[in-house]
Every structure is written in C-alpha cells, then in structure tokens.
Amino acid sequence: MSRARRKQAASAGAPGRVRKALATHWYAWTMVAPVVLVIGVIIGYPLVRGLYLSLTDANEANVERNIGMNHIPATYKFTGLDNYTAILGDGVFWGRLGWTVVWTVACVGLTFAIGLTLANLLNRKLRGRTFYRLALILPWAIPAFVSVFTWRLLYNEKNGLLNKLLAGGGIDAVPWLNDPTWAKLSVITVNVWLGVPFMLVALLGGLQSIPGELYEAAEMDGANAWQRFRNITLPGLRGVSSTVILLSTIWTFNMFPVIYLLTRGGPGDATEILVTYAYRLSFVDSPRDFAGSAAWGVLILLLLSMIAVVYRRSLRKQGEVW
C-alpha cells in the first residue's frame, strides 16, 4: 500500500476507529465512569475554581449570595498573583511553614523510630505477644477526634490527670496547651501517640517477610545484633519504610483534626500548621477570606507535590523501583 492510500484509509477509518474503541472498551469505561464523574465534579471543579479564586480578591462580602429574596451577584475582581505575592512577602506564611516542617519531621521521625523499636521487640518469641500487640494498636481503633478529646481531658491545666500526677510528685502544674512551647510538645505527643500503631503494624509485616535464614547465616559469620540490624533488617524493610514514611509525611503535613481540636492552632497561632491556617482564613476568622485561603491551599498542594517528587527521586537513586 502506498503512503497516500494508507493515509486515506486511516482518515476514512477514523469514525470507525472510535466506534471500534467504543465497542471494545465501553464495558471498562462504564465501570470507571462513576469514579471519574465524582472525582471530576468534586475534585476537578473545586480545584480549578480554587485556583481561580486564589487569583481574585473574593471574600465573604463580595461573593455571590442570597439574602432573603435578593440575589446579590459576585463583585470580586481578578487580581492576578497579588494574593501570592502578599502571602510570600509576609512573615506569617514562613512562620507557619517553619513550624509545619518541624511538626512533620518531628512527628514522622518519632513515630517511625518508636514504631521500628516496638516492631523489633515484638518480632521475636515472647510470652504475651498477642496481648502486647493488641494493646499497642488500640489507639488506632479509636476515631482520632475521640482520642484528641481524651487528651484534652488529660492535659487540662487546672484539673487534668497529668498535672495532678505532677502535683503528687511536688512539681508545678504544666500549662500543656496554654504555653507556646508546651503546646507544640503536646500536639506532637498526641500525633505520635495516634500514629505509632500504623507504623508498628506495617513494619511488623515488613519484618516478618525477611527470611530467618539471613539472620542465622549472619550469626554464624559472627555478626553482632547491631550489625544484623544494620545489614539485614534495615535493607529488608526499605520497601515498607519508604511507603509508610511518604504516607505519614503527607498525612502529618495535612493533619487537621489533631491541631484543630486540641488547640485550635493556639495559643496565639503557635501550633497553627498550614492546613489549619488556611481553614481558619475561610471558616473561622471574619470576614471570611476565600481568596487568601484558596491561595494558601494551592501553595500547600505545591509543597506536597514537591515533597513527593523529591522523595521519589531520592528513592530511585537508592535503586528503589517505584
């Protein structure tokens, strides 16, 4: 077939190809349609709209709304990158970003270290193993907001159990949630407490998939416990650890309930992370600053994508496939 005729045939076949594609793939497309639709409407539209709002000066006073019978049209204007320059030129953003990074690194680091230690302790013959395992994952079974309220009960400055115990030891009451530094330590403690069970279980699964012969061989070669840990356990866990670290980094970065319910970002805005601050702009403070909140949201999304990309690249360098 000459090139010209092939081209002709292809163009004549275009509608036919669509029909053929429909005929072969319509089952698949029907099956995924609901998800595509829901994601498109509920995530795609708000995302585009959020991007647009972040380029305007929309707030409570100038968006489209109904008051009684009267419909008031929107009066906000397109302002280009003004919100972004304002946010990036202001110390508030950098302050919140700094604390969010400290919060994320501290939480993920501690959770991982504690999870790894406990998983190693549990991964051996041991009396009462099932009991310990069940006890240690209990915090995971309870909805986070319930746990957070429980911690508020314990942290209560005047009457909370923690301070009463300290008083019993002759130590002055600690302003757990009312002093900036203590509040930061307190929210980290609660988040670590909430996060350890997941780490523990995931890492325990990873440990159990490392063949025991490796340890036996290493022992025969005279490797001590630390060397076995460094050269067998850690490499063996790399797959699981990289997944759980990335997941928990994203979760912690966006951890709304712990901060919001424990301290509302306070005292002042000492414990406010980026996500809770963006929420505060549009749902707590008055007048509600929709444009600013959207711009914060877009910045958060950019930061998270950067984390994911950098993290993946560093994993690739270590020879990790995904």
Binding site: P34, V35, I42, L47, L53, L121, L301
Partner: protein, 279 residues
C-alpha cells in the same frame, strides 16, 4: 560475656524487653481507658484522680436523653452507611476495570486516583463549600456523602485492584465462554470471590468517614444537622466544659469504630501497603 543469641535470652534482656513493651502498652491503653473510667464518674468528679468511687450511668443517660446526641448519631450512621455502600460498590467496579481491562485512559486514571490521595482539605474545602451551597447541599447528608466518596474511593479502588489481581483471570474467561457479558462476569463470578476485599474497603470507608472532622464541621451547622464529630465539639468548647457528657458520648462513638476495626485490622495493613506500592 556471651552474646545473647536470638533464641536464648539472658534474664536481664528478658526483663528489659518486657519492661519496655509493658510501658509502651500502658501508654497506648491508658488514655482510652481513662476516658472509659471518667465516663462512669458523676459529672462533678470528672477530674478526680481515683478510679470510679460512685459508679454511675448518669452521663450516658444525660447524653442519650437530654441532648441531641441520638440525632447526631443517626446523622452519622446515615452519612457513613450510605458512603460505605456506595463507596464499596464504586471502588469495586473501578478496581475491576483497572485490573482486567487495558483501555485508553487507564494510566491517567490510575494517576488520578493516586494523586487525589494527596489533596489537602484546604485546597478543596472553600470551592467545595461554595459548590455545595449553590447546589443546596449544605446541611444535607447527601453533600457529605459525595464529599466522603472522593476521600475514600480513590484509595479503595487501589486496594480493590490489588484484590482482583489475585483472582485468576481464568474465572473471567470461563464466564465469558458460558455467555456472560463482562458485567455478568463481574457481578456473578468475581465479586463473590472478592468478598474479603470488599470487607476491607468497606471497613476502611467506614472508619474514614466515621472519624472525619474538617468537612463535617464546615458543611453541617445547626444542632440537628451535626454529625458526631461536630456534636462532640459542642460539649467542650470555649463556653462550656461538660466533660461528663463528652466522655460518655466519646465512648459510645468509639465502640462501633473499635469493633469494626478489630475485625479489619489484619487486612487493613495488607491492603494499605498493597494499594500504595503495587502498580
């Protein structure tokens, strides 16, 4: 000193091991336990350090009879129930399509599912709030259900794909030979085999929706429209410190979640890690 081998531990190592685990276990169990204990104390004893001296159900009675708690509970059950049923179904069909068919648009779809898991509440919540407002879905359970679907379904679809991948394709082929179309094969042959996977995605959706706070606080206002996450906040806020009601309500909220979790926990992690590393 001889190195303690993996099988024979020295007594000192044994004590250290058990001591560490015991301390960790106590820290893990104590807060929920204290919640339970406090809920049985009379209102004014909420902050006593002792165990229960005057055991009472008064807090529970008060919460159930005198507050809107049952309404909130009903709202939550409605929202979470519908979300779970719809979510599992939709995640299953998607997971099946992605597992079995090679179709144009499949790779972008998988990416979409992965990326939506990263979305912070903060980006979407304002536009979503406005969208819900313009559709008249604020304060409506339907609005929350749709929102929760977008949180749960992408992740569940990944998990379901993992489960379907473990079911041999020969079963589908046999169904085809017997004259079933792909929907029939899916519905009659594959879905029953994927029951454990359905259970896990169901549990996951339930637990996620039951514990969601941000959207629930933003979209549902007015006492009678709140879900449990919002309702619990009304007991302890800047104006009110009703710790007795809070603890009793919290216990009632935690129990169903803990029961569901107890059934699912073993599979949750397998699904969780499979969903994120495969593909």
């Amino acid at each position: 000193m001889a190195k303690p081998s993996r099988h024979k531990r020295g007594p000192l190592a044994s004590v250290g091991l058990h001591a560490t685990l015991l301390v960790a276990a106590v820290i893990a169990v104590f807060p929920p336990l204290w919640l339970l204990v406090t809920s049985f104390k009379p209102k004014n004893d909420a902050f006593t350090t002792g165990l229960v001296s005057n055991f009472t159900f008064a807090n529970y009675r008060h919460v159930v009879a005198d507050t809107q708690f049952l309404t909130w509970f009903g709202n939550s059950v409605l929202v979470v129930g519908v979300t779970t049923v719809l979510g599992v179904f939709v995640a299953a069909t998607t997971g099946y399509a992605v597992s079995r068919f090679r179709f144009p648009g499949m790779r972008p779809l998988m990416w979409l599912l992965l990326i939506t898991q990263m979305f912070p509440v903060a980006v979407l919540i304002v536009p979503l709030y406005n969208l819900m407002a313009s559709l008249g879905l604020l304060n409506q359970p339907a609005g929350l259900v749709i929102t929760y679907l977008t949180i749960a379904v992408p992740f569940c679809a990944w998990m379901m794909k993992g489960f379907f991948d473990t079911i041999p394709v020969e079963i589908d082929e046999a169904g085809r030979v017997d004259g079933l179309n792909p929907f029939g094969t899916f519905w009659r042959l594959v879905l029953p085999l994927a029951r454990p996977g359905l259970a896990v995605t169901g549990f996951y959706t339930f637990v996620t929706a039951w514990a969601e706070v941000a959207y629930a606080s933003a979209f549902m206002t007015g006492e009678e429209n709140l879900t449990l996450a919002g309702g619990l906040q009304t007991f302890v806020n800047q104006y009110l410190n009703d710790w007795g009601s809070m603890t009793a309500a919290a216990v009632i909220i935690a129990v169903p979640a803990a029961l569901v979790f107890a059934f699912a926990q073993r599979h949750l992690v397998a699904g969780l890690t499979a969903g994120t590393t495969k593909g």
